[in-house]
Amino acid sequence: MTSAGFSTGPPVDDTTDEPGLVVQVQQGNSEAYAVLVRRHLPRAQRIAWRLLRHREDAEDVVQDAFLRALERIDQCDPTRSFGPWFFRIVATTAINRHRSAKRRETEELSDTDVSEGVSPMDAAVHGVLRDEVDAALRTLPPIQRQLIELVTFEEFTPTEAAGMLEIPAGTARWHLHEARKALRTQLQSWLSDGGEDDA
C-alpha cells in the first residue's frame, strides 16, 4: 500500500487529488509526498533553470524547495492546488540563491539544441538565432529576464509571475512591457513584422 510505515489515512497513488495528498503529507505520509514530488519535479526544475540558467544550481534549488515545502506544508491550504504554492517557493529559493551567490556565467550548452533531420543550413540559422535570443535575454535586467522566462516560456500569467518573484503585479507588468520593448529592438531583424509600435 504505502511505504509510510504508519498509515494515517486512505492509500494514495498517482491519481489521488492534491488536497488529499497535502493532508496526507501533513501527517507524514511519505508515499503522498513522493507523488507530489513526481508530479511537480519536472516543471520545478524548468522554472529553477530558467531563473538561474545553471543546471546544478537549479537542481540544488529544487531540492531545497521541496524540503522547504515539506517544512511549511502546514501553511499550504489543502483546498487549493499545491502547484502554485510550491512554485512560488521554488522561485523564491532561486531568487535568493541568485542574489546571494556570485553568478557563474558559464552555462553548459544544451544537448538538445538542434533536432535530428534538420538541414545544416537550418541548424546553423537556428544556432545563430538561438545565440542572439540568448544574448538579448542576457542584456535584460534580472527581474525582466526572469519575468520573460516565467511568462513567455513557462506560461504563467503576469500576476502569477509577480507573486512568485514577490513584486507587485503592476510592477511586473511594467517590467514585462519594458523587457518586450527591449527584446523587440534587439531582435527586430528576425521579427517578420519588425519595428512594430509598442505603445
Binding site: L67, D113, R180, L183
Partner: protein, 138 residues
Amino acid sequence: MTDNPMDRATDRPDLALDALLRQHGRPVPGAALGNLESRILAQAAFPLAARRRAARLGVADTLAAWVRVALPLAAAAAIVAVLFLSRIDTSALADAELRDSDPGALLSALESDDGSGLAHHVIASDAVSGGAVDLEPR
C-alpha cells in the same frame, strides 16, 4: 490595479516576439530527474518520520487530555456516590432504632399534637438505652 487601461496596454502580448522566443530560446537542458527525485525523497525521510511521530503523539495527547478530564469527573462521581450511600446507611440506622423502640411509646409520640413528638421519643429511647441525653419535658 488590474482594471487600469495602462496595465491592459502593457499586458498585451507580442505574439511574434513570443513565438520567436519560444522557438529559438535556449531549451531547458535535460536533467537526471530520477536521481534528483531520489535525493529529494531521501532528504525528506527524517522530516516525514518526525511528522508521523508528531501525529502519533497527537493521538496520545488527545487520549491523555480525555483522561485528564475524565479522571476528576469519575472521582467526583465516586465521592457523590459514597456520600449518597452513607446517607442511606444513616437512614437505615435510624429506622433500625425506631424498630427497636417501644411501639406503644412510638405510637403516642406520633399521635401527640406536638410536631416534635417523634424526635423526643427517639431521644428518650437513646437515653433509656444508656445515652446521657437530658430530656426536658415541654
